[in-house]
């Protein structure tokens, strides 16, 4: 028996819609097996992962809080991927944004700086993220260096820079030697939407980003250009679209969004700059982008789903002592199934006997 791919005459739109659902189903089936191997009751584990977080207001807010950076970063990445530019370094752009924005917060600490502080932090973070993303973009366009590798290397560099700052010049003198800045002043903090809750202004910003991306891709020439350059580079050249320019543009936009997500996370839920501010948002956002079919609305849904797995993972750890790394395994497997199911959009799978004559005779 042999698996054979047969190209479909045209891409199947039905499959395009249901394939993420098939992928999620297959992932959950695989997780059941993994839970069983770990010696945990699969049904209880699935409940802890996917149902329990949806049953109380606090966890629901927490899901939205986790989804905020994921959606924001993934929207930017989807623009890159649509234009066939492989930005893999969103994690680094997220960290640089957090660092750049925190600079203002740290410098104005304890002064009577006014309401301009937070907006200035957001703008500076977005600019820093964009500039940081431009390094691999320019290296690619000018010198032909693989943007995949250079953007990734910059993640480690950003991580080390943050580490240096919070252990050295920006360390909180009253922080008992912990590598962290002091808590940000109220003017340098993202306001909460619900008094005493967790949901903050960042959630609204990420919804605006989703809307803006939907308009860009659906209603503007630029969005059309991005999609053509990615899907049909030759046609795009004939159409006079400048692919290099789009690499620069999409990298800058996705870097800006990742940087913005970085400062919102630090000035919001975390409240100060420290190492480990990201549980891998920049990488998980890659999964969000693909699971959401590189479509803004899809990314919003996928971001909420992946956020659910983060929160569910924490609950499963507390309730059932399931290691947190299971969440990463879950996310990795999910991306595999998403990609495999996407193959169904372009191809039909057939099982064929290695001896084709026999299979034809039998069929």
């Amino acid at each position: 028996m042999q698996l054979v791919l047969e190209k479909r005459a045209e891409r199947s739109n039905t499959v395009a819609l249901i394939s993420p659902l098939i992928a999620i189903g297959l992932t959950i089936a695989t997780m059941v097996i993994l839970f069983a191997i770990l010696g945990k009751n699969p049904l209880l584990a699935l409940h802890a992962y996917f149902i329990a977080p949806l049953t109380d207001g606090y966890s629901l807010q927490e899901i939205a809080v986790k989804a905020t950076p994921l959606v924001m970063i993934a929207i930017g990445l989807s623009l890159c991927y649509l234009a066939n530019a492989w930005n893999i370094g969103a994690e680094g752009q997220f960290l640089i944004g957090a660092v750049a924005g925190s600079w203002i917060a740290v410098k104005t600490q304890g002064t009577d700086a006014g309401a301009w502080v937070l907006p200035a932090m957001l703008v500076l973070a977005a600019a820093a993220g964009a500039l940081y993303a431009l390094i691999p973009a320019i290296c690619k366009v000018k010198f032909g260096a693989s943007e995949i590798l250079t953007s990734l290397m910059l993640v480690y560099v950003a991580d080390l820079l943050l580490d240096y700052l919070v252990r050295g010049p920006w360390r909180d003198p009253h922080g008992f030697n912990f590598p962290t800045t002091a808590e940000f002043d109220p003017v340098a903090t993202v306001p909460l939407l619900i008094e005493g809750g967790r949901l903050h202004l960042g959630a609204i910003i990420s919804l605006l980003v989703v809307a803006a991306a939907a308009i860009l891709l659906g209603r503007t020439i630029k969005g059309f250009e991005i999609r053509v350059v990615g899907a049909a580079p030759r046609a795009a050249r004939f159409g006079g679209f400048n692919a290099d320019q789009l690499v620069i543009l999409t990298f800058a936009v996705s870097g800006a969004l990742a940087g913005l997500a970085g400062i919102i996370e630090v000035a919001g839920p975390v409240g100060h700059l420290q190492p480990g501010i990201s549980p891998g948002y920049g990488f998980t956002a890659i999964i969000v982008a693909f699971l959401g079919r590189l479509n803004p609305l899809g990314i919003l849904i996928a971001g909420l789903f992946l956020a659910l797995t983060f929160i569910g993972g924490e609950q499963a750890q507390i309730a059932m002592k399931i290691p947190l790394d299971v969440t990463k395994v879950f996310q990795g497997i999910l991306l595999f199934y998403v990609l495999a199911c996407d193959s169904l959009i372009l191809y039909r799978f057939k099982l064929e006997s290695s001896n084709r004559q026999v299979s034809r005779g039998a069929g």
């Binding site: 032909g144 590798l149 820079l161 790394d325």
Partner: protein, 305 residues
Amino acid sequence: MALVEAIILAVLAASTPLLIAATGELVTERSGVLNLGVEGMMIVGAACGFAGAWLTGSIFIGALFGIVAGMLMSLVFALMTLGLAVNQVATGLALTILGIGLSGLIGASFVGERITPAARLAIPGLTDIPLVGRVLFGEDGFVYFSIALLVGVWWFLYRTRAGLILRACGDNHVSAHALGYPVLRIRTFAVMFGGACAGLAGAYLPLAYTPFFIPGMTAGRGWIALALVVFSSWRPGRLVVGAYLFGAVTILQLHAQGWGVGIPSQFMSALPYLATIIVLVLISRARTGGSTAPAALGTVFVPDR
């Protein structure tokens, strides 16, 4: 003299995992497949390698565990990209994300444990030669093996018929297929060879480099190995140069801290990553006349029937 000797030994030790992983990826890419999952296969190799050595007390069995783990990971990649014609870039990333999770899961129970690392093999007579003896003949077995592996790959690619066919698949899969060569099967073997090498390279870290396992201990070495393949222009000879240069940068950074250079350690630690970017830019720029990459690299191939 003792210092120079120590530095050379340290450079060789730091270069070896890069060299092994990059050699495997070179073969994979020569067959036309871009597997970006090296980091993921390495990190799973590190966890499984340590687990194997800790459970059995044998470095050799630990290394075998690492190799098998890397091969299993690469098999998943082959199934996806060759069997289901999925985009290689995205699948490679998925492999790395999955690998980081799996490695944490497998390695969790071994954090804090220690093993006796691979001994340096002394060759009676040769090792005692003054000046060069310890450097040339006093390494652990992995170092010798990495050199033998590279020479073997060079011989295979350029001196055997099978190597020629493998390179043909990487340069023009349609022609290779038309000539009757099983492109997908050859690529599967190449991918699995790359996986075995990445797994071994990962296992080297807890088995010989440091005697313990910590999550994330590959620290981007898999990605640097990928960059080294570009640096080498897909030629085994230049791969050695690149790997040892990078090993030297890594060690320079460690020793600079020891010498009390007044630069914060984080800046020194960033050196290998910055060096990778600079090297990629310089190499890619020097090659404006035409790429030396295998022509079919990273492209999907579905045989026509």
